[in-house]
Amino acid sequence: MAVLTSPRRTNPRFGPQAGLVAATRGVAFAALMAAGMGLLTLIVAAVLLIALGAGILFVGSGGPHEERVLLAFLAIGTGLSLIRFALPATLLGTRRLARLTRQLTGDWCGVPIAEWYAPPPAGKLTYTERLRWLATDPATRRDLRWTAANLLACALAAAPAAIIATGLIEFIGPEFTRLIPPPAFPGNTPRTLVVLGLAITSVGVLAAPALLRAYGLVARSILAPGGEAELELRVQQLTETRTEALDTGAAEIRRIERDLHDGAQARLVAMGMTLDAAGQIIDSNPDAARALVLEARDASVKALAELRALVRGIHPPVLADRGLADAIRALALDASARISLASDLNGRPPAPVESAAYFAVCELLANVSKHAEARQTWVDIRHTDGMLRVGVTDNGHGGAEPARGTGLRGIERRLAAFDGVLAISSPPGGPTAVTMEIPCALSSPKTSSC
């Protein structure tokens, strides 16, 4: 997903409560680290298995030769199939963990980290294509580096919880239960132990926010995008989408020009000629002149109808007046299919995004009515985490393939100009769910609704 986001910033405050919260969050980060380690372990286990197999095969001794070979191939085979399964799973898993970490450091440590991943190639990916996409993305290497480095960095995040636990359990604990032996050092009276325990616990609580922030900073130093390879990729992607956007724009303008030339313009010329003819015969043959005038009037009605259709294709009036939700509501009112709309927009996206989303929905609804044989379609519009998300779901027979039709590809290309993406789930038998995501901010909440 090619997305640059900068999560909102919430700075931790000081105080006992903030300290406890920070310590708890540190533990959560440690849990993420452990999950990452678990993923890496999969790969390590696979490599070890292969090494073991090789070892048995080449340097091993003892036992009949056939058994050794069988055992070796069993180990190598298991290792290889584990790698085949574990490689993409690990890469995607570490990516998911890294993205979660980026989000959480922004929300919890006050250290927002931008992210950038190379967009997946269009269409359905084979195993190798998928692996190549993941492996060539510099972000993947960065995420792996982070998963390894996190083992050490995590000490920062987990330290406060460890210190607090030591203070409470080792020093204050013996006061309450005999199960915990008091630490052995000279002068360890129960009273000094409690005082020391409280002191240690407070140190942990007070230091927690600062340590959590330090952890966030370390995470940023590794997880933030940067470096030439990435910039190059981004530039390449921007160049491609810009060229496509310009091409689409130019083609649109040519189409509009042709429509005006063949439609409204031609009708106006004909009207002028008809009116001129009427003027020539108005004295000699008033009845024929009247007929010509009426003909000119009808031509003007047709010219207006054509202009209206053209305007709808460029920028639908309801979209301009009321925004995305009402424009789609108007679309649903005109459609003979059952379309229900759920919208949760508290403001309006920028006009180009709004327009792109609207026409994408138009095309998707047209697809549904052409191919899906659906009884019901649901359109869902919401804006969360700096993303406009539009979902179009139908209960038709499914089996929509982006590779088969150019329609879905076209939408994908147009959304790419806004760093937007499109995801399709359409198993044979249905239902079909298309989701679009476009990063954008909303302008101020709408001031009127009636």
């Binding site: 003007s300 009605v301 207006l304 305007v311 009321r322 009112l333 005109d334 459609a335 299919a337 059952r338």
Partner: protein, 214 residues
């Protein structure tokens, strides 16, 4: 009959004024924005207001909002909204703003001044004037899902004209049939669509529109 016009383009405002005057209507005020419209309808108490959808300052749906506001200010004020395009969404909002005295027409309809003035008078009298394009799309939508399958082609024609807000007499004249034939068709339509028949023209229109609008 006294009319207030709100239209921001001078040429159209002037043209409308002259056309309505030529048909014997009196222009109480001709303004070019929503605020002046509100002032005019309260000050002049016209029989009907004719409002363009696009008005300054935003040139979006100001006219619709001004019309709705005017009807809140002067309850029951008949309003005829004119637009370069028609939307069912706006038609619904206007129809929901009170029972009757509502018109929503394409601007092109002024080309046929006789029909247009007829619509103005109908709205002023508390009736309804919906643009044929709105009705055509409503019918297309209802035909698509089979709701109107029981109606004969002639009954559909009558239904469309009825939904526009026309009286039996006007429908008869339009279809070149007798008024009694129209009455027979409407009775049959109401029976087939399971609607409560009504002698009141406007109630009948609203029932049909509500039925088609779902």
């Amino acid at each position: 009959m006294r009319v207030v016009i709100a239209e921001d383009l001078f040429l159209l405002r002037d043209g409308l004024t002259r056309m309505l005057q030529a048909h014997g209507l009196q222009i109480a005020a001709a303004v070019d924005n929503g605020a002046d419209l509100l002032a005019a309808v309260t000050a002049d108490q016209p029989d009907v207001a004719i409002v363009d959808v696009r008005l300054p300052p935003t040139f979006t749906d100001e006219g619709i909002r001004a019309a709705l506001a005017a009807r809140r200010e002067v309850p029951g004020l008949p309003v005829l909204v004119l637009s370069q395009y028609v939307e069912q969404l706006y038609a619904r909002e206007l129809l929901a703003s009170g029972s009757g005295g509502i018109g929503y027409l394409l601007k092109d309809r002024v080309f046929d001044s006789g029909q247009f003035v007829d619509a103005v008078r109908r709205v002023a009298a508390g009736g309804t004037a919906m643009d044929p394009e709105v009705i055509a799309r409503l019918l297309a939508r209802n035909t698509g899902d089979g709701t109107l399958a029981a109606l004969s082609p002639r009954e559909r024609e009558v239904l469309a004209l009825m939904a526009e807000g026309r009286s039996n007499a006007a429908i008869a004249q339009r279809l070149v049939i007798t008024e009694r034939a129209v009455a027979k068709h409407t009775a049959s339509i109401f029976l087939k669509l399971d609607l409560q028949p009504s002698d009141d023209d406007n109630r009948r229109v609203l029932a049909v529109l509500a039925y088609l609008g779902g």
